[in-house]
Symmetry: C2
Subunit: 206 residues, 2 copies
């Protein structure tokens, strides 16, 4: 019996190169929870095989700017001439259905979400050592040295934002990291601030 029936918005973030998407994939393979991905909205054109409302919500620039103006996005960013963002409505609908919505996102986006939806759960994924992350970035290998150095500098700045998150999860082992995230979701559902309302209601019943 769950005292909290609403789903949780689980924001998975961490410095560039830490392996967020790999951990996220492992998390969805667990299937122990009703997890759904948040769907982003974008102004870029659909690629071959991409489906509107599944891969992305594809919209015009005009529509996107209207979403920004009317504060209908949890976060947004511009990237090589296109806009990307997270529509609030889809997230809220899924939460109301009792799904846990997973938002895998860069640090700057996560901090925007924090200000709009403080009741979300913010998890910062970190490497066991800084060097492990540098190695990952270096091993990608196809990029020019300057670009790699820029990424390392970005990661170094992002490393320092861990204190803005609720949890720090070490990605020393992908499966263990995913397990810890599942435990965090279960624990958060038992938190007093999320359960007290239904608990008090239960007390009032005969």
């Amino acid at each position: 019996m769950k005292l909290n029936e609403k789903g949780l918005l689980v924001v998975l973030s961490g410095p560039s190169g830490v392996g967020k998407s790999t951990v996220c994939k492992a998390l969805f393979e667990k299937k122990s929870h009703k997890l759904v991905y948040s769907i982003s909205m974008t102004t870029r054109k659909p690629r071959e095989g991409e489906v509107d409302g599944v891969d992305y919500f594809f919209v015009s620039k005009e529509t996107f700017l209207k979403y920004i103006e009317e504060d209908l996005l949890l976060e947004w960013a511009e990237f090589v001439g296109h806009y990307y963002g997270t529509p609030k409505k889809y997230v809220e609908e899924q939460l109301a259905l009792g799904s846990e919505v997973v938002l895998e996102i860069e640090v700057s986006g996560a901090l925007q979400v924090r200000s709009k939806m403080p009741e979300a759960v913010f998890i910062f994924i970190v490497p066991p050592k800084k060097q492990a992350l540098y190695n990952r970035l270096l091993e990608r290998g196809t990029e020019p040295e300057k670009k790699i150095q820029e990424r390392i500098d970005k990661a170094d700045r992002e490393f320092l934002l861990a204190h803005k998150y609720d949890y720090i999860v070490v990605n020393d082992n992908i499966d263990k990291a995913a397990e810890r995230i599942i435990s965090i979701i279960i624990a958060e559902h038992s938190k007093t601030e999320r359960t007290i309302y239904k608990y008090m209601k239960m007390l009032g019943e005969e």
Copy 2:
């Protein structure tokens, strides 16, 4: 890799008759964690087979009063002419060794611990319905009606203290309740306030 190497003091409490000790037993059977029981100190005489330092720390009334005076107990109470309490030192030693110390305790004791060790994890175990708890108390059956009514009244007062705890766990199913507590322990170890110190140390290392 754990970013928090110190153990947690896990305070399991709840209204009289909710089944705290049954859930606690199920928790220890999981063995997925390094759990130890907190050992109480008492002024009552050892019973046949009870071992000092295992079942209880057996002490004189004089010693017990000295412990109270010197603030060496996390909580204490007098019960039918004997003193019972939780010595801080044993708990702190076990936490330093990385064990999770489980303290299964009545509501009034738990609130004393809260004031002395706020970093402990406070879990309130509740029945799925109030009536389920009343039935348990009524079914014990060997006690006079007046005594049973007293217990029900006590439980009713204790029900209202849920908001003083970090988590509310429903004991609708003993095994599931124990699983939720394990998840809470894992999640608490990842909390930023418990991990940031070691994380910042990691950042400082080459």
